[in-house]
Amino acid sequence: MTRSIRWRLTVWNAVGVAVVLVGFAALVYWLAGRAFRQHADRTADTGFRLVETDPRVATKPVERAKYWVREFDEHMGVRAAVYGPDGAALAAHPGVTGRGLNAEVVGRRSETDPEGQRWRLAVESVRAGDQELRVLLMVPLRDQDADLAALGRAMLIAVPIGLVATAGLAYLLARGAVAPVEQLRKTTERITADRLHERLPVRNPDDELGQLAGTVNTMIGRLERSFAEIKRFTADASHELRTPLTAIRTVAEVALAGTPTADELRDIIESVLEECGRMARLTEQLLALARDDAGVVPRPLERLSVAALAREVVDTMRPLADAKGVTITFAEPAPPAGVRGDPIRLRQVVVNLIDNAIKYTPPGGSVRVGTAEADGTVRLTVVDTGEGIAAEHLPRVFDRFYRVDKARSREQGGTGLGLSIVQSIATAHGGTVSLTSTVGVGTEAAVSLPAGPPA
């Protein structure tokens, strides 16, 4: 709890406010003290001016000095002393003589007398006719000190109260600000794997919390799609594995129920083996896909030429096209484009694409394979004059187990994973794969890979 944002905000707030308040109080206290001293100094100035402007001081200095000393004491509570040019006192209040103060230094200072009384001491030269008198004034600071002390006491009470009040306010503010986060956390916690359709409420999409909620919602959306994908994939995979299992089970049970001849038994065992082969291929491909998904690189990458790879695969697969009456050609690029990759996996991309092209191109048609390099991208294209893929199927052909013509694909030994594998290999190599098709005209498959150093 002490580590919660709410508490940290409160504590920092309180510390900040305390520093400001104490600093402010100290400043006010100091300024008040200065103002009081200046007030005392102004009182002294008034006194000096009174003596200075008295015309009779020049003629009767002693008499006037006595008068002013008495006058100051009676009306202003100021103790005074007036000294002649020789330094001898013309007149002095007993509180000045009693303390043995002299007027040698002109200026102002604060003094504390033996009774603990504070005074503002001011000494000034005053011209009276042709002689220079020194006037010493002791302005009492008693009232000002009392006021300052009262101010200090008021501050000692007000500052802590202000501090507590602001801390409390800060706590409430922090709690108010953090409450939506807490709400967000609780709601997010409620959203589990089976409630991924839920979303966090977004009160104001433009503030920080609204943006956070929006980001979390986007993430939940991605999770929801991944979960749906995994669910579908698991269902499809188990379906794909069940099909051969059902076939095996059926032929074996039927064989056991009847009295097959040796030839019939042979036929049954052969068909069981065929189905086993299908399952073995399927599990192997699923494993390869899982590995690509996990980003496991089974072999070190090599520099290789896509053009050389494509040429080799075209040469190897030409008899396949010939057998079907399909022409296959390879357009030589110049210079050969190089990429970094795993030759075995990339060859599988080329093999799968060409195999598909030959499979879906009727006799008399053609398959054109080409490579090109542009803007740092190596592009492999396989263009066929086959039957094409209808627009509604195109977005899904890379989905695992998605087949345009289910019965036919399976009959031809397809696992429904060929294009998924092409895509995952291309992605693992930092590339992309795309398919464009027109029904009745043909299909173009294109794989783009980032160009590496020339092979």
Binding site: I269, E270, S271, V272, L273, E274, C276, G277, M279, A280, R281, T283, E284, Q285, L287, R291, V296, P298, R299, T316, M317, P319, L320, A323, I344, R347, Q348, V351, N352, D355, G413, T415, G418
Partner: protein
């Protein structure tokens, strides 16, 4: 006849291997656990060991290390359902001679075992004879009687591979991997098409083909 030790805990697989290997003439003994396998293998009676990786008691690698520690240099073929490159490396590092991933074709196990048993005896044959054909490996010529048969490069490689395994079935996966050096092709009809091309060239017209299709397995060249 070569003696083969099978160490495999899965009863059906063990029995299948025992019967299958005995059926082609090997003397077979079998153990169902790691310690039993290590015990049997230690006295050096065997010419080859087929060793499952996942075994109760001691796993295949531990059995293998025990055998090597006891000074046995007998060739060992590891069977495993784990198909990760690092596992393969681990197995070969521990002293395995070959590595076969389940589910394997029995034909492939036989082929691998033959290679292991031939180990140490270099293949000095330069002319292979099978199915009435003479295959001259040095001059890369194939003759049937007096007639020379012209073969394309891959057709020759395919025939050579079939001839080295004459009388035995080889799978499409083996051909894809060993003849085309890439298992991708095994998923297409490439192997089938090349076998048909080869058949057209080596078969005499009107006769039964010298290359038999073994349904569910692969192909076999006559002896």
């Amino acid at each position: 006849m070569p003696r083969v030790l099978i160490v495999e805990d899965e009863r059906k697989v063990r029995r299948g291997l025992e019967e299958g290997l005995a059926g082609v003439g090997y003397e077979v003994e079998a153990a169902a656990t790691g310690p039993d396998g290590a015990q049997l293998g230690r006295d050096g009676r065997f010419d080859a060991v087929v060793l499952d990786w996942m075994l109760p008691g001691m796993d295949g690698l531990e059995v293998l290390r025990a055998l090597r520690a006891a000074g046995q240099s007998v060739p060992v073929l590891i069977l495993t359902a784990r198909d990760a490159v690092e596992d393969r490396v681990l197995g070969l590092d521990a002293g395995a001679d070959d590595y076969l991933v389940k589910p394997f074709a029995f034909a492939e196990l036989l082929a691998r075992l033959r290679v292991l048993l031939r180990r140490g005896q270099p293949d000095r044959e330069t002319v292979l004879r099978a199915a009435g054909l003479e295959i001259d490996l040095l001059r890369r010529r194939v003759t049937r009687g007096d007639a020379e048969i012209a073969l394309a490069h891959k057709e020759f490689a395919l025939l050579e591979y079939l001839a080295r395994h004459k009388g035995q079935a080889v799978t499409r996966e083996m051909l894809g991997r060993d003849v085309w050096a890439d298992p991708s092709y095994a998923l297409t009809n490439v192997v089938e098409v090349y076998v048909n091309l080869l058949r057209k060239k080596i078969d005499a017209p009107g006769e039964r083909s010298r290359i038999t299709t073994v349904r569910g397995v692969g192909y076999r060249l006559e002896e």
